[in-house]
Structure formats: structure tokens, C-alpha cells
Symmetry: C3
Subunit: 344 residues, 3 copies
Amino acid sequence: MTRTAEELAQYLGVRLEGDPKAEISGVASPERAGKTDLIYVDSHKHLERAAKSKATCMLAARGLRLEGKTSLETDNPKFAFVKSAEWLLPRFEAEATIHGTAILGANVVVGVNVSVGPYVVIEDDVAIGDQTKIDAFCFLGRGARVGQRCRLHPRVTLYSGTRLGDRVELHSGAVIGGDGFGYVFGEGRHWKFPQMGSVEVGSDAEIGCNTTVDRGSLGETRIGQGVKIDNLVQVGHNVQIGDLSVLAAQVGISGSSVLGDYVTVGGQAGMGEHCVIEDRATVGGQSGVLGGKRIRAGETVWGTPARKLEKFKQQYARFGHLEDLADRVRELENAIGERGAGKI
Amino acid sequence: MTRTAEELAQYLGVRLEGDPKAEISGVASPERAGKTDLIYVDSHKHLERAAKSKATCMLAARGLRLEGKTSLETDNPKFAFVKSAEWLLPRFEAEATIHGTAILGANVVVGVNVSVGPYVVIEDDVAIGDQTKIDAFCFLGRGARVGQRCRLHPRVTLYSGTRLGDRVELHSGAVIGGDGFGYVFGEGRHWKFPQMGSVEVGSDAEIGCNTTVDRGSLGETRIGQGVKIDNLVQVGHNVQIGDLSVLAAQVGISGSSVLGDYVTVGGQAGMGEHCVIEDRATVGGQSGVLGGKRIRAGETVWGTPARKLEKFKQQYARFGHLEDLADRVRELENAIGERGAGKI
Amino acid sequence: MTRTAEELAQYLGVRLEGDPKAEISGVASPERAGKTDLIYVDSHKHLERAAKSKATCMLAARGLRLEGKTSLETDNPKFAFVKSAEWLLPRFEAEATIHGTAILGANVVVGVNVSVGPYVVIEDDVAIGDQTKIDAFCFLGRGARVGQRCRLHPRVTLYSGTRLGDRVELHSGAVIGGDGFGYVFGEGRHWKFPQMGSVEVGSDAEIGCNTTVDRGSLGETRIGQGVKIDNLVQVGHNVQIGDLSVLAAQVGISGSSVLGDYVTVGGQAGMGEHCVIEDRATVGGQSGVLGGKRIRAGETVWGTPARKLEKFKQQYARFGHLEDLADRVRELENAIGERGAGKI
């Protein structure tokens, strides 16, 4: 949608310098921008890139100006940029078409303006909210529930009974609701613990490509509202993730762990079973939290086994000086030896 | 299937206290159970949850009883629970239908009571055993062989020549038989080593969502009987995994490694090429076994590079006291210094 | 294609001993070889395997001969083997058929001898080069470009705008061009940074099963020519990978990192954002390179945080002797104590 610089300034609540009627229809990097794309400049070092850009309008940190460009001045140009992007650009086009090759089971309830792509399979008793878009090759198992304005990219699998809130976005290859990994060994083999629970994904959550979220065994796996999960992440059965938490790529959360709100987990980190990660805690990339451990609210932990970041840094620095320490012990031994040979 | 408490007690070989005619048709957690769901209670601390449950029957550890509930007394209620679940609940319904949209190549042999879902593609010369269920979007490459009573969840890929035993369960997104990762560098580029072998998966194996198992290069990759593999695991070319081993999520096994029987590998652990992990060994979560290493039968190893758990614990404890050790060296230096300044 | 030993010797430029007219039609391991399969023997210890083989012809290291076999003598039998395999065996058969169930959008340009499998979905404005093969269930988003002689195995997803060079091979479940993982937190929630860039994959690249490569946010993600990426790898938004680099399974590269040419990354290694890994550097398996770090050309690093291999080995050896060091400090304390009790 095309807007004017003035309209955008008003939406963002910021001051405009330049032409209030300048048109803005998209966002871009300075190098790729056309005349009506909005760019942002958050420091002096990027000013030259902006100067060379074809863009007419820029979001700029206070004090950054360029001759001939219309500026919207803000304390946080990057944040203003993402806000503007969401305001200018629709997440996707609602098409209100069910492709002729889509297969819908009995008792499927489809809302208004829903788009279902080619070769989608929807089993019985599924419900899909208004303005949701389901791309090619998606599979929605029996009894799944999808909220409004959701987007399922091509080739998403929802096992039976999975429930999604509104505005959830699932990327290609994601599998939600697969069986949890639980066995009891006896009589010479592994017996599968019943995996009969389900998965609930809160509104505004986004889940990356080829990520897997297992169903609860007897209870539920729950992903909170506004949670963002990157690609190739594993979320085990009965895991609970609070609102607005963020999990980077290739993280693994074992069964029955509980993450609070605003938790951040770095890439490739892992958690054993029954961990508790309290609100606003941060687990560093590649860290390993042992099963049953509790990370306190607001703490940052690092390493395997995970410990407080300050402690990790101190130990790691000490580790780096082990060679020195060994040298000092040798010198002490020599000194003692000189004065009392045979003692040690 | 609905059974009586008496029938279940007889199947399990346990003592019944209460109403022998009480009906049991499923299993559940105490909170979710209906009247005819079986629950289990393995310690006093869960007795109150059971007391509040609607369930009529419970599997209970010796000495745990509840007024008004029919009890089946057993040493291991959790194991009795999984046995009961398997006995009461069918793994899946055999439907004996080939969906009209499934595409079958030439010379495909399909057993009795086989169910093939919508948009399944089966290439030439594939054989599928009795009572197997193949869900939507599965791809079975040329010459693949699938045993009896297998379950392929939606969107499983079997590359050509893959062979599955009986009662194998493959979860959504699993890819079995992809090319191994082997190249020889020469004349300025990487030349692909031929990846012409195949994969054989033993009976009763289960493989998780989005897990990948590569075909052998010239020989075979082999997954033993009753092996359980979680989600997002990578099994390289020519790997051999013995019977009843268990691999947790995101584990990576490099090419030509050999795992014995009853091996346990924790989440995110990795093994280099040509490792040997003998029977009943355990590799801890996130551990890394260097290429070519051998872990002895029954050993538990931890860390990267992986070493015996006791050694890891000892070293790690020592690591935690490095600060102390450095302090003690400083004090020794001071003591020596007082008595012989200039010596050190 | 069947060739003679003489023709192969000529192609490889090596000396032939035995029957120049011996026929060769494939390659195999000694154990699996038929009469016309080529085998290779690179050391004395494999000579017995070769002696028992049905194969008539072998590539052999200098000085290795077998009665009754035709030998092609070479310094590097394994390399000669992969060269021979590529020469003898076509990568795949070009079939020049578009399956009746494939769905092609408007303005799709398809080259000569292109094969499109069942249930493929190709959106508008896609171009596909000559002799490319697209298997079942692939999804090519709007505006995607695929070069000549590419192979897309079943169930590959190309998000809109993805561009592949020539002879690219993508394995089952790979997702190229998914949204990058970038958010800006403000006003109580995570706002998605625009993910509008694209992915460019160079000629002769190969990408493994279930691997994910994210699109650039405002710019591009770029995979160089001849790059080989194993299964379950994550490549973040705006990452640049130079030519001929190799990434083993389950590696994770965070956003905006830059890898040079001939870089080697071991399995499960991870890199933070904005790393620079210069040409010919090697990152060991499970290593972690902290965000913003630079690894110099040709260096080998190991561990988390990653450091030079020699340093890692030295520190690790020292770590292994911590117990000894502590003992020596205790002995020093005792020695000092004897001579000056109360001093320490």
C-alpha cells in the first residue's frame, strides 16, 4: 500500500524533515531501494550508503540528515523500520480459494477468506479460522484446529489434535504433534509409553523450517504466545514454553522441561528432561542444561554443564592460564628443592 | 477394545483388589481419565491425584490403595501401564484402501489389508507387507521393501532400495536412504564418492520426525531390530547400529561408525567417523566421540572429547576449584618469597 | 555405459596391466562386484578382499598386483575410482516428461529434456534449465530459477525467488529460502524484521536432506560454487559461503557470517552472527565460534569457544593433568608446612 511520509510520521509519532507528500510503498536496504522504498540509518557509518541510495525517505537517528532526502527522526531507527514494514506490507495475500486438488475430510469447518493450496490433505473434524492461508502439501490431521490469519508454508505437518492460535506462522517442513520419545524397557524390549496428548501453539508464534514439536504423552505440549522458534529445533513431549520466548536454530528441549516468559535460548543449546528455565533467563549457544536443573529468573548461563556466565568466564580465563599456573608450581618445586632436596 | 479389570490382571499376572468386572477401554493421566480409563500410581506423592481422578481402575505400587477404586497391584506400575496400553489400544487402524490419488508404478506388490493414503507415490518394483499403513505424501523409491504392520506417517521419503522390517514406524519428514556425504578432492574440485549402497532398518525400529539416515556408499547402512531413534538425528553412510539401541534427538553419527546392542546416546551427542561403541555403552548428551575411538562395552562416557564419566566428573570438579588452586599457589609463592626473596 | 579397460586407462592416463579388452560397466566394493564392475585397492591390507572378488578389473596402487586381474596402476586409486564412477555412470536419467499431476503456474519456462515428477507444484514465473530433473512433491515458489542438469530429489522446497546454478543437487526435505530469524523487540512484543531477500546457490553445489538455508533479510544469502553441505545443516540469513567449502551434518551458521573458499566445518559445529572464516580454515566438529570472531586463513580451530587446535590440545592435555597439579601443590604445602607451620 502506498502512503505518504506524513502519514508514516504520524503512525510512528516522529518528526518529519523534508517533503511530507513523498510516497512510500515498501522497505529495502539502501543499495536495493527504489524511489519509494523506505530505508533506515542508525549511525554515521551507514550515512554514505544512504546518500547513494535511490530512496527518497529515510528513518534516521537524531542528528543524521542528508541533503535531498526526507527524514523521519527517531531514537531507534531499526525498530521504526520493522514497525513501518509491518504497516506497509501485508504478511500475505488472502485469496479465498480452495484448490481443486485439496482433499478435505468430513466435518471440516473453513472460515471466511481461507486459502488452501494444491495437494493439501485435511482430515476429518478440522477447523480453520478466517483469512488463514495453507500452502501446498500441508497435512492437517484429524481434529486439528487452526486459528485466524495463520500461515502454513508448503509441506507443514500437523498431527491429529494439534491446535494453533491466531496469526501463527509455520515454515516449510515443520512437524507439529509427532509422537514423543518415551519408552519403558522390560521383558527384553522397549515398550512405547502412550503418546496420546496434543500440542497447543499460542497466537503470534512463529516456528521455523524443519522444526519438530512433539505431542504430550498423556498431557499437553504448550508453546506460548508470541514465541519465536528458529529452524531445526526439537521440542520434546510435555514441554511448556512461556510467552514471548525465543529459541535459536538447532536447540533441543527434552521432555517435560518448562521455560518461562521472555526466555532466550542460543543456537544448538540443549536441555535435559525436567529442567526449569525461569522468566527472562538466557541460555547461551551450545550450552547444556543438565536434566532437572533450574535456572533462576533473569540469569544468563553458559557452557556444558551450564553455569552462570560470570563464573564461566572466570573459569575459562583461569583455564587459559593453566600453562602459567603449571610453570609457577614447577618454579616453586625448584625453589623448595634447592633448599631442601629430598623433601618432596 | 473394552476389557475387564479381571482380564487385565490375568494378562499382567498381577493381583486384583476391588471389582473384577470393572471395565477398562483406554489409558490416561489421572486428570484426563474418564471412568473406563486405566491410570497408574507409582508413589505416595501421586496418590492424591489418583484419588481425585474419575478413573475406576488403577495400577498401583504395592501398598498404595484408594477407597472405591479397583487396584491392580504391581512392583512396576509404569511398566504395567505401557504393557496395558499396547494391549488395549491398536497402534493404528488397518483400512485396506488405496486412495485414488496414490500413484503406483509397475510391478508393485501390495499385501493384504494395506492402507495407502492420498498423494502417495510408489515407484516400480516396490513391495509392501500385510497390514501396513502408508500416509499421505509418502514417497517410496524404486525397489523399496516395506515389511508387515509398518506405519509410515505423512511425508516420509524412502530413497530407492531402502528395506524396512516388520512393525517399523517412521515419523513425518524422515528421509531414509539419502546419499552419503563422501567426496574426494582432486583436480580443483570435490568428486562425489559413489553412493550406491542401501539402508536396512530392522523390525520394531522407530525413527523420529525429520531424521535422516544415509545409504551406504558401496555397502549398507544398517539399523538393528527394536532400535529407537528420536527426531532430527543424522545417521551417516555405512553406519551399523545393533539391536535395541536408543538415540535421542539431534544426535549425529558420522560415516562407518559401529554401535553395538543396547547402546544409549544422549541428545545432541556426536560421533566422528569409524567410531566403535560397544554393547550397552552410554554416550552422554552433547558429548563428542572423536573419529576412530572405541568405547568399551558398558562404559559411560561424557564430554568432548568423550571420556569416562567418573573421570569427567573428577576433572570437572577440579576445574570448578581452579580459582582455589591458583590462590593456594599464590600463598605458597608468598610464603617462599618471605623466606627467600629473589629466589623465585 | 560399458567401456573397455583400455578406454578407461586412456581416460585416467594410467598404465594398464592385463587384458585391454576387459569390459567395465560399473563400480562396486570387492564383495559386491560382478564381473564387469571396477574395484579399487589402495593398500596391501585390502589385497585379499580384491583377490576374492568377482571383478575382472581393479584400480591398484603401484606395486599391488593380482594374478588373473586386469590392473590399472595409479598413485591414488580412490581418486581414480571416483573419477571412473562419474565417467561410467550417469548422475540420473533425463526423461523429458512432465507428469500429468504436476501443476505449473503462468509464465513457467521449461528447458529441453526436463523431467518433472508427480505432484510437483511450480508457481508463476519460474524458469528451469535443460536436462534438469525435479522429483515428486517438490515446490518451486514464484520466480524461482533452476539451472541446467540440476537434480531436486523428492520433497524439496524452494521459497519464492530462490536461484540455483547448474548441476546443483538438492536432497529430500531441503528447504531453501525460508524466512531468516530476525526480530526487534519493542512495545511488548517481537516484531519481525523484513525477510525479503533471496538465496543464490552456485553451480555444482550439493545440499543434504532436511537442510535449511534462509533467505537474506534485505540482501542475499549466497552459497558458492561446488559447495557441499550435509544433512540437517542450518544456514542463516545473509550468510555468504565461498566456493568449494564443505559443511558436515548438523552444522549451524548464524546470520551474516562469511565463510571463504575451501573452508571445512566439522559436524555439529556452530557459528555466532557476523563471524568471518577465511579461506582454507577448518572448524572442528562441535566447535563453537563466538559471534563476530574472525578465523584466519588456513587456521584450524577447535572447542567452544573455538581456539587454535594446538592451543586446544595443549590446554586439554593440561586439563587432563589437573589432578597431578593439585597433588603437587598439596605436597608443596606439606613441605612448606613442615618447615614453617602456621606460615600458610
